[in-house]
Amino acid sequence: MVASGTFGYAEEFKDFISLKNLGAIVSKTITLKPRQGNAPPRTCETPAGMLNSIGLENPGIEFFIDEKLPLLKKIGVPIIVSIASEGGPEEFIILAERLDKLGEVSAIELNISCPNIKVTKTQGQCASLPEGDKVTRLISQDAKATHDLVKKVRKVTRKTLITKLSPNVTDIVEIAKAAEEAGSDALALINTLPGMSIDVETRKPRIAMGCGGLSGPAIRPVALRMVWEVYQKVKIPIIGMGGIIDTTSALEFFIAGATAISVGTANFINPKVSVEIIKGIKEYLVKNKIKDIKELEGSLKL
């Protein structure tokens, strides 16, 4: 599938690939109200990667349902809608309830790990915890907060629920287990890593918000390690992502324990990469006489 925030709402890619060949499309994260996003510059390149602080620019849930979802539906592949809150679990619940009623939505992905929303005065931090809470962290950095949120959303929807995890934690397994226990149907990992790049002439960060999320091949070793760790401790499926740019890197994630994989940043470099990888995986299975990709899953030999 294609990762949230890297494929827009699919329109921009129709000239490059046959969209119906994708396993699924994960939409850009939607919030209750429209968001303008952060001031530019929002992106910069780093070695084998890039930083982004888009800031969840999106047209809001109602516009998405009215204008974007019908176009996505026409493609004919599963649509996974990524949602986030600008403040507290309540918005997640409202969004989930809204999407629960729509047949064209195959699954909901909880973006509890976006580091680019400025809710408090703390530079670049996303405080999605309820007001009054002194700790300004992401929900995904707190096992109890993750558990509470997933449990609340679980109550209002029967859709397949995917929790997207942040790597910016001491122990991702703890967060993964909390999400699983609270009723998450699957886990998506990893989101971006907080990072920075500095212009030495101006002495300013190269992106306006200072810090941004690092993605691309540079984060792949971190992502693989985390998929492997989580795989050993949870039973629910893992959607692995983080720097996949070709068939080989995709296969690494299956071997590490992913049931499915998602391609993100690579779409910017090669808009055809997603279908090239699908084709490459099929060729690998045929060449190695593997009947089902599930044989690869978690087959890492230690």
Partner: protein, 261 residues
């Protein structure tokens, strides 16, 4: 409009002057539909650093070939400068909205005026070709004489060329926008239909002020760091009166009055 992703053969990649090069790429499908003001995203090489494509405005089109004009400013352009004829480069294009050439050329306001700052000449040569039937005016500005590019190309296209250099080594001494204002103050100004500008941001901000002051419509071609170049990532936005717009999709050409500087 359709966007293509093609492996283009490098026909030539040659130096114009120190650090300035021209690459000629064979890419028929893109060349056929490219419009002035549009750009392409080039994957410089197959490595992971540089990772992202780089945007280059379409400088000229000749049959099934497109040309890009570029300056070596960093690692990616350094690598590009060493790519040889015969090799291939992955191209996505044509991208962006292009110049609106329907801008008023009616009544006694006949001449378009193109204003280029430094490397801003690149897309304006393509635009100038579009205006062949009208004897337009082009102002080229740079820090110094050595950085003035494409004077002959504009002349061959039938344009009057005026030069401005910061250090006075050639033509008007001062910024190209200073030269523009001087021209607008003179009798010639009543024949100018619209301004088409490309160059550094401060120059374009000045163009905006001048456009407003002299009530002459101005189109500016903006730049912003791009990750995808195709409108998907939302990285390259610019603030306008109608909110954030993507430089790669709703731009790179904007009416100067739209931009919130």
């Amino acid at each position: 409009m359709k966007i293509w992703q093609k492996k283009a053969k490098i026909i030539s990649n040659y130096k114009l002057a120190d650090k300035y090069l021209r690459a000629v790429l064979h890419t028929a499908k893109i060349a056929r539909i490219a419009a002035p003001g549009q750009f392409v995203m080039l994957k410089i090489d197959n490595s992971l650093t540089p990772l992202l494509r780089r945007p280059f405005s379409i400088h000229r089109v000749d049959g099934s070939k497109i040309e890009v004009l570029y300056e070596v400013v960093g690692e990616a352009t350094e690598i590009l400068s060493k790519r040889k004829a015969g090799g291939h480069i992955d191209v996505i294009g044509p991208l962006g909205n292009g110049f609106d050439c329907r801008a008023p050329h009616t009544g006694h306001r006949r001449r378009p005026i193109l204003v280029a700052g430094g490397m801003g000449v690149a897309p304006l040569v393509f635009l100038a070709k579009n205006f062949k039937k009208v004897k337009g005016l082009v102002l080229i500005g740079a820090k110094t004489k050595k950085q003035i590019l494409c004077e002959k190309e504009f002349q061959r296209l039938g344009f009057d060329v005026k030069i401005a250099t910061d250090d006075g080594s050639l033509g008007f001494k001062g910024k190209v926008t200073g030269l523009l204002e001087k021209i607008l103050l003179s009798a010639v100004s009543c024949q100018l239909s619209a301004v088409y500008a490309c160059g550094p941001r401060p120059m374009l901000k000045e163009i905006s002020r001048i456009s407003n002051k002299y009530n002459i419509p101005a189109q500016i071609s903006l730049e912003e760091h791009m990750a995808c170049g195709i409108g998907a990532c939302l990285g390259c936005v610019v603030n306008t009166k109608e909110g954030f717009k993507r430089v790669c999709k709703e731009g790179p050409v904007f009416w100067a009055e739209e931009i919130l500087w």
